[in-house]
Amino acid sequence: MSTVNIIDFVYLISAVLFMLGIKNLSSPATAKLGNKLSMSGMAVAIIATLASPDMNGYIMIILAIGIGAGVGGYAAKKVEMTSMPEMVALFNGCGGAASALVAMAEFSGHTGAFANFTLITLLLSIIIGGLTFTGSIIAYTKLQGIISTRPITYPFQQVVNGGIVLLTLLLAWVVFNDPSSTFSFFLIIILSLALGVLAVIPIGGADMPVIVSLLNSYSGLAVSMTGFALNNNALIIVGSLVGASGLFLTMIMCNAMNRSLANVLFGAFGAIDESAQDAGEGPTGSMKGFEVEDVAIALENAESLIIVPGYGMAAAQAQHVTRELGDYLTEEGVDVRYAIHSVAGRMPGHMNVLLAEADVSYDQLYAMEDINDDFATTDVVLVIGANDVVNPAANTNPSSPIYGMPILEVDKAKTVVVLKRSMNVGFAGIENELFFRDNTMMLFGDAKASIQSLLSAIKK
């Protein structure tokens, strides 16, 4: 067996370890083991590569790994759980950049003529990796609020973007026919980077979770392309795993919002739409702001409580006090459960992670389809900084932008308590008639402060 064969065999082992890793993610009880298996798959593959006989430049390699591990490790240790979506977006951007850079390195170091297939996959890797890099950075800045979370649109935007795609492919054709045309090659790099920016800026902040998943899928695709070009099976397999995982999460979120991927990408959802309000579609009546004491009495008298967290809980870092309140009421004999919509927060499963951080047992967390029928028999629902995922207009108002989106049907409960920062509309910019209903008690203020005062009022 030659060394190349041995290395390929080790790559097979690491691919199996990755697969087992994901398989073990099917339950929170085995997930930690899964992540360890996945890590060892990576370690084995890296060691095998480093041990191959024609390796030089170990000093450079050690230096680069040191820098990368330092930066990545520091970021991973420091990041707040509430900022996880931004962190994942940035890491993902790094993955895209790495694939594109590997393809560029291969392009520059290649000796002799390129095989057609190699050239095509290299160019695809550069284009996809490049736009994943800048797209992820824009997604990061939108999630952080560094640039406006509203869609940035301008006339003929899609025509311009389409034109850039065509131009990029045209240049790729030029390079394909003449790999020595350096100018076209550099232009492809620049255009791919521009494409990532231009494709993400018209997408509203509320849709960023979908975009981060989709970009995750792209980074996988870029890795697979690099794998084809380098004829490296580990890269091909892993890239397709990641591509499938990203696409799967993207589709889950699109389904959870009842929107197509095309609508997310090109719909500029959340652009301020005045027509709906002008046409008198907005809810009538007034929101009833309540005092902490009133809400505390409602909670004390409840036998069952469902807590519905949304991004507002994350923004206020209210997950710990939420758990305190939940635990206290549980001890008082209230049946406390948590209902989590798949697009609550800024990434799939975001709320679950925050509640896990606050030490809520994961068997208290329910997905929408497992708990929606129970709202009608529940005394009190406590909505913490969630808005669109509990908006009854999704079921009742065909002119609403979110009509048809599956929601948590909290309005069926006897009493709904909504903790909300202000009277303003939510992230997606849509009015919510739930807030105007007779069985709804609004409690305005910072979620963390509200829950703290609720807790002390109940304990009194």
Partner: protein, 102 residues
Amino acid sequence: METGTIIIGLTIFVLACFAGAELISKVPQTLHTPLMSGSNAISGIAILGALIATGRPESINAESLLGFLAVIFATINVVGGYMVTDRMLQMFKKKKRKKKNK
């Protein structure tokens, strides 16, 4: 590159896509964030290509410099992704619920 090699590569790609989709559809909603950050860490596997690009040239040239950058980016992706996933998974606990039937 021979057509045979391409076909083998494509076969692996398509089969791995199906296997991946099958595995991932079993992951519950509660773990979707760790799934995302974990699969994100795996996508840092581009580090293998990056190591080869850095280590193959006998002296420093454009290829090895690009490879050097790629190793940095890929390592951030791998190390950061795994650590953050591990941090999250450590938090998922099932508590003994003492006051269950009261």
